[in-house]
């Protein structure tokens, strides 16, 4: 294989995963939090694909494909929820969704 070794891909994936996690923990807009979750899933996908290449087995790629579908599903439900909240007139701010507490 030419170009950078698998390790480099993995580093990128790790950075992406970290960035996504940061977004979830930092941002207040549920939309951006959802986007950050997508980042995390994609980081995992990159890892899977990189390892698939490393081991020369396609299992990782298949797994990644399935994850894409799952990610799409999560987005669908997340967005549905956000829309429902918006219709219900609830603030789109995760910090304000804290009436359940204690």
């Amino acid at each position: 294989m030419s170009g950078p070794g698998i390790g480099w891909y993995l580093i990128v994936a790790a950075l992406l995963f970290g960035t996504g996690a940061l977004g979830v923990m930092l941002r207040r807009s549920p939309l951006i939090v959802l986007l950050s979750l997508e980042l995390m899933l994609n980081a995992a996908n990159l890892t899977l694909i990189a390892f698939a290449r490393q081991h020369g087995s396609l299992d990782g790629q298949v797994f990644a494909l399935a994850v894409m579908a799952v990610a799409a599903a999560e987005v669908a439900i997340g967005l549905g929820l956000i829309v429902a909240m918006a219709r219900r007139g609830l603030p789109l701010d995760v910090d304000q969704a804290s009436s359940l507490r204690g």
Partner: protein
Amino acid sequence: MVAGAWFCLLAPLAGALAITLAGERISRRQAGLVSTLTTFAAFGGALVAFVAMWAREGAEREQLSTAYTWLAAGDFEVGLQILVDPLSAVMMLVVSGVGGLIVWYSLGYMAGDDEERRYFAYMSLFVFSMLLLVEAGNLLLLLVGWGLVGLASYLLIGFWHHRPEAVAAAKKAFVMNAIGDATFALGLVLLVWQARTLELPAVLEEADGLSGTIVTLVALGLLGGALAKSAQLPLHTWLPDAMEGPTPVSALIHAATMVTAGVYLLVRAHPIFEAAPDVQHLAAGLGAATLLLAGLVALVQWDIKRVIAYSTMSQIGYMFLAAGIGAYGFAIFHLVTHAFFKALLFLAAGVVIHHLAGEQDIRRMGGLRAALPRTHVAFLVGTAALVGLPPLAGFWSKDAILASALASGGALGWTLFSAGLLGALLTGAYAFRLYYAVFHGAPPEVSPEPHGPEAAHEPAHGEGPLSMLVPVGALTVLSTLGGLLSVPGVWHPFTHWVSETAEALVEPSTGEDYLTSLVAVTLGLAGLWLARRAFASGRQLVTSPVAWRALEHKLYFDELYDALFYRPAAALAGALRREVEEPVVERSLDELGAGTLELGGGVARVQSGLLRTYALAVALAVFVLVLVFVAVR
């Protein structure tokens, strides 16, 4: 013989049960009759036993009879058993005989009290308990009787339970006796461990084989019980207060029988005390000390019954002295004569009190010779017997004790002898002070209103009904003649009889006897003279105000015990309650609970409802988990 003894024991119990169970179905008078008859029945049983024993010889006179195993644990067994031997036979006769007379007397004395039934039930219970004490075939059963007489004493002292003084006195008597019971029990525990049995002849035979320390401890334990029961120093303070009870009770329990149980124990368990001579001498010494102390205090008392009570303490001191030097026969002899004349004194005093509607203060008495001529005679006989004037009962028994002290010799013997003689002087003084104050001089100016503990009685009964007079008469006779059972140099049937159970350690010679009598009677008469002179001149016997106050306060024993024991215990209990129970034991859980709840509140606050913190927690936890996993590898 054994059947008589069993009958003697159970008859009063049956009486007590019958009265209790019958309740209001029988009249008060019937209750009294039941009690009297059963007590005399017991006396009959005792007589049967005595006569049967008389017919036997030597070892045959001692018999142990077991009904059933009362208590058993492992290989340790205690039977419900009685020991019939010369000593217990004498005691049975005295207890049931004197008891019967006094219960009979009560019929008249208590007439009109609205709780007569209860009174007679208690009296019967007492007679049963006392008989159990003297007949017990093992030491544990003896302790049972010991405790039950204490119970009966408590009940009867506190008979007039609406009076705070009576209740307090009853409690005091019970607690003091409980202390004695406890040391008694401790002594028995030691015996159980050493001898594995408490059966009377057997355990006493083992006494010699025990180590010195053990036997001393056992003896101390028993002595503790005896001191408490017989109101000897230092456990004597309850007896004067016990006079709160009805007078026949004082006569029966606190003069004739129960309080002398300590002497009985000393004699009964004499092998143990002989194996621990120090303890035996201690008993003699304490007896001597008590007889002096009580004699002194009696000089200043105003209450007719209290004077007699102190004289009782003093006389029991003589008995302890006797038992302590090994003159067992004379100890028991004095016990018996004392039972006669002291019961007589109390009953006579009862007549006086009855007559005066409950008055007990001798300052409000006087000149009763005219109003109560027969009682006067009886009282005089009793007093003279108490002082030990010949030929009355007390003369023979007391002088025999003093002679024994003289005969035992040594520093101890001489000390005891001197103390006894001094006691004789004191006895003469206080006894005749009382006699003069009550029967001589001018009658009090005002006719007394009913008051005092026995205020229930209507005034001016005169000498009371026949049921009161006959027992007094009988006791007068006994007090006069009772001493003739042992005349020095002539015959000693009584001491001989007792010595089959308890061989005396000292035997005074006839010369010692007569010498002692001479001195003692002289001193007694000197006391009489002192009392008469003081009475005639209207002065008191004790003139020093300091001494007067000290004696009036009974030498401050009550105050001392209060400060030494009761108040510290009460303070300790209060302190435990305030400092340990409430703050530590009860609240520790509260604090722990509050702390936990606070923690729970903290946990709930962390659960802030902020979604981002939830993610943060997950992230941090993952970080730690991975870190640990990779690092531990």
